[in-house]
Symmetry: C2
Subunit: 149 residues, 2 copies
DNA sequence: CTCGATGCTTGAGAACTTCAAGCAATAGCT
DNA sequence: AGCTATTGCTTGAAGTTCTCAAGCATCGAG
């Protein structure tokens, strides 16, 4: 708490990779417990925010569009997701979470015990601070907390 | 800066997943520019801290040990990594970065412009704070910055 | 309405992932 | 010592992911 402790950019990058690695591992294990691969889990996770076109999913997940086809195929086959034609552009297919898909992703999030335990080590104020810092560093436009507010 | 802004655990988890996605995407693109897959890049990234046994790599990367065999095979074939027998346990093979491997992972880290730019948005003090919070939340035993210090 | 760009899908080939099995070596036990 | 269970790594098979190159349908601009 002395103010300047001298953490340089490389150390922070290193810790970031360790931290996010821990988060990712926690997520992967939780997804596996619901018989989902990491990619399938990540797709559901993105869709939890709302429907998205195939192309948007590919962009967010940093992969080829053709990639999403197979992933969404398998999720759809399990009834976790649904393809709906866009009303405004007949090329576009919007992917939507089904009720079951929503249930599954919420279960997965609830099973991320390591991450929750880690965050619980912080005080309310510290969580606020962490939130603000991550938001500044990783979101170009500060995300609206409640889109419809 | 009013103290209590009321960020709950779910919002923080959500932001964490967004941050991870951004970081991971940045890393994936950088690794691809050096003709490495994400898994290969992540392996080099871990090895940047020092040699590690196959089993340790699998644990850190949250995957099966048999998985590492193939990944290390390909990295070794490119001369980025070397398998060395452990002097103390003949079952164990320690994986070590070659000079070329070290060069490549450093190049990749240097190409993570989006992440660097994000961190540059923070002040020195804020980076110190972020470092401390991540360390508390994501490392069980606060990592020694300089192991030999 | 013709052309170029965009959205999604398909197919081939490589890499990743998991699981079950197997071998070598170690560790704990009596 | 000898026996047994465990651990570390590798192999092989099956499914998933990933990338690239086409391909088709639709949109958008001229």
């Amino acid at each position: 708490m002395t103010g300047t402790s001298g953490v340089d950019s490389d150390q922070l990058m290193e810790l970031l990779s360790v931290s996010l690695g821990a988060y990712y591992g926690d997520f992967t294990v939780a997804a596996a417990s619901e018989n989902l691969t990491a990619s399938q889990g990540k797709t559901l996770n993105v869709l939890r925010r709302g429907p998205a076109a195939m192309r948007a999913l590919a962009t967010i997940l940093t992969c080829d569009a053709s990639n999403m086809t197979g992933i969404v195929d398998r999720l759809e086959k399990r009834g976790l997701v649904r393809r709906e034609p866009s009303p405004t552009d007949r090329r576009v297919k919007n992917v939507v979470l089904t009720a079951e898909g929503e249930r599954v992703i919420d279960v997965i999030r609830g099973k991320m015990h390591a991450t929750r335990a880690g965050l619980d080590r912080l005080s309310d104020e510290e969580r606020d601070t962490l939130y603000a810092l991550l938001e500044r560093a990783f979101t170009s436009r500060p995300a609206t907390l409640r889109p419809s507010a």
